[in-house]
């Protein structure tokens, strides 16, 4: 029945070329010998050496990593709580405001989020640094986490929790022993999403970072505003590589898990 194959193949091929060619070019030219980025002058890995020896990059990367780990972990806890409140807590005073505050940051332009947080930090006299970036990142990424987790909670069969209570669990135990294991995949993907958002963020970090703390995106930003540089190409390639390996590994692991589950279900069906 699928008779439009040539059209589909063409549009998909062109689309993926469009999506991936810029990255491929960037990766290729990160191995360029020349300082002039657009002229090929032979293969070299010297720019990777430059990146690794660049103290500023390394310390910015270290700051970014710490911010991302801490903020995404807090955001996962808060976001899961918020999701639970949204889906399970029923009616309470200020529920509308609460759900509004969960969804608003998702559509709020980053410049406004950044600006408003900066004005708050100045207003209460908080010194800007790693701590303020963590606060900022936690706030917007907890909203993403709660959206991811609540969509899983909605499809969650509530009678499982009731069964746990019926069998003698306290509410806390039933959450820990029944709910959490079942929503764990959503919680994990929420954490990963929060982690990536934090790694990736330039605008909010620019507003909330002080002179004492510079994240990697801020560092890259100040350097690429001046134009293309081979060092940034090398750094980008490293980052793309890490992400690609991570995503592919994660998808293989989850695919294996699904396959195993299917195999077990098939085996169980046979007498």
């Amino acid at each position: 029945m699928r008779r439009l194959t040539w059209f589909n193949t063409t549009s998909l091929t062109l689309g993926f070329v469009f999506l991936y060619l810029p990255m491929v070019i960037l990766i290729i030219f990160s191995f360029n010998e020349s300082k002039l980025v657009t002229v090929w002058a032979g293969f070299s890995t010297k720019w990777y050496g430059e990146v690794i020896r660049n103290e500023a990059f390394l310390s910015a990367a270290w700051v970014t990593l710490r911010v991302a780990v801490v903020s995404s972990t807090i955001a996962t806890v808060l976001g899961t709580m918020a999701a639970y409140v949204l889906v399970r807590a029923g009616r309470f005073k200020g529920r509308t405001l609460f759900s509004g505050m969960i969804y608003a940051p998702l559509v709020m332009p980053e410049v406004i989020t950044g600006l408003s947080l900066l004005l708050l930090f100045i207003g209460i006299g908080l010194d800007r640094g790693i701590f303020t970036i963590i606060l900022a990142h936690t706030t917007f990424s907890m909203c993403y986490v709660s959206v991811v987790v609540s969509s899983r909670l909605v499809s969650f069969d509530q009678s499982l929790e009731e069964a746990a209570l019926d069998l003698g669990c306290t509410p806390m135990e039933s959450f820990r022993l029944v709910t959490l294991p079942i929503i764990a995949p959503a919680v994990i993907s929420g954490w990963l999403l929060a982690f990536t958002l934090s790694l990736d963020d330039l605008v909010i970090a620019s507003f909330t970072a002080g002179p004492s703390a510079t994240t990697l995106p801020i560092k890259i930003w100040s350097s690429i505003r001046l134009g293309v540089s081979p060092e940034i190409n090398a750094l980008s390639t490293l980052m793309i590589g890490v992400v690609t390996v991570g995503v592919i590994t994660a998808s293989i692991i989850s695919k294996r898990a699904t396959l195993r589950q299917q195999a077990e279900e098939r085996a169980a069906d046979q007498p």
């Binding site: 998909l12 810029p22 960037l26 690429i224 293309v228």
Partner: protein
């Protein structure tokens, strides 16, 4: 008791770090610029008691908003942001729809892979994805080298630092947001509906217009809003790929704040941007609601 803690912790966090900051923006947008730290007046002084609060409110005014309407830089920036966002959304739809269609019609065992290829760029740094186009589009960049190499042009094209580069950047970075909702709408489409349309006398093209398009409308609208809303306040793309002609409100706000240190005007710019965004956000919510009802 536990329930109260469960509700209060995220609630207070969001109040303190989302709602209060936003109220501060609103308040500063009504204040005056001053050469001081912080660079605006009045500041709220609780030690002066009730009198202080009354004085504080009496000094707030809409001066900054009036200023925004008088200086045509601002409303031009809003208009041009809107125009760029609308055009870019449309272009993204043109590129995204055929891809989503191709994915939805691809063989079953290919789809997870295609899906991953669409999502993968989303996990890589936004900044790097925008940056990758700088080397391609510059006057001595790869695109010009290629076109001149095969003899299509003799003079390099000026693309980087123009609106064209901004459009390319937006389409490139926001493409997954357009493809995913359309794909999920198309994938749900029951193939027998198309056969029924053909059986009742439609040509393949008219079946596409009369059945496929209306039934993927929800996905199209969702995709358009998902691209349009963040594009309107976009800052990185116009700053890196755009030129002096590229006026976008996110960039204006940034410059107002960091370069001119005019906090009240920056805040007023932010407030108006939000007011503009409320319309598409409400429409988007309605569309989602309608989708859910249609499914349920």
């Amino acid at each position: 008791m536990r329930r109260a803690v469960l509700i209060l912790v995220p609630y207070l966090w969001l109040l303190a770090l989302f709602l209060v900051p936003f109220l501060i923006v609103l308040k500063i947008s009504l204040s005056d610029t001053a050469i001081a730290i912080p660079p605006y007046t009045p500041t709220l002084d609780f030690s002066a008691g009730w009198q202080g609060i009354r004085e504080f409110f009496s000094e707030l005014d809409f001066e900054n908003f009036i200023f925004l309407t008088e200086d045509d830089l601002y409303w031009k920036a809003y208009l041009s942001s809107l125009k760029i966002a609308v055009v870019a959304t449309f272009l993204t739809l043109l590129v995204g729809y055929p891809m989503a269609y191709g994915m939805a019609n691809a063989a079953e065992h290919w789809r997870p892979t295609l899906m991953m290829l669409i999502i993968l760029p989303f996990w890589t740094s936004f900044l790097i994805r925008v940056y990758s186009w700088m080397g391609i589009l510059s006057t001595e960049g790869y695109l010009n080298q290629f076109l001149m190499g095969i003899g299509v042009i003799s003079e390099p094209l000026v693309i980087l630092n123009t609106n064209i580069a901004v459009y390319i950047g937006i389409v490139y970075t926001y493409l997954p947001f357009m493809i995913l909702p359309i794909y999920s709408a198309l994938e749900r489409l029951d193939g027998s509906l198309l056969e029924a349309a053909e059986d009742l006398g439609c040509s393949r093209l008219s079946a596409f217009w009369l059945v496929t398009i209306p039934l993927s409308k929800g996905g199209i609208i969702a995709g358009c809003f998902l691209v349009f809303i963040p594009t309107l306040g976009e800052f990185v793309i116009p700053s890196l790929l755009g030129g002096s002609e590229t006026l976008m409100i996110g960039k204006v706000l940034w410059e107002e704040f960091f370069n001119n240190r005019d906090w009240p005007v920056a805040s007023a710019v932010a407030v108006i941007l939000l007011l503009i965004l409320i319309i598409p956000i409400v429409l988007f919510q309605r569309n989602e609601q309608k989708q859910r009802e249609a499914e349920g």
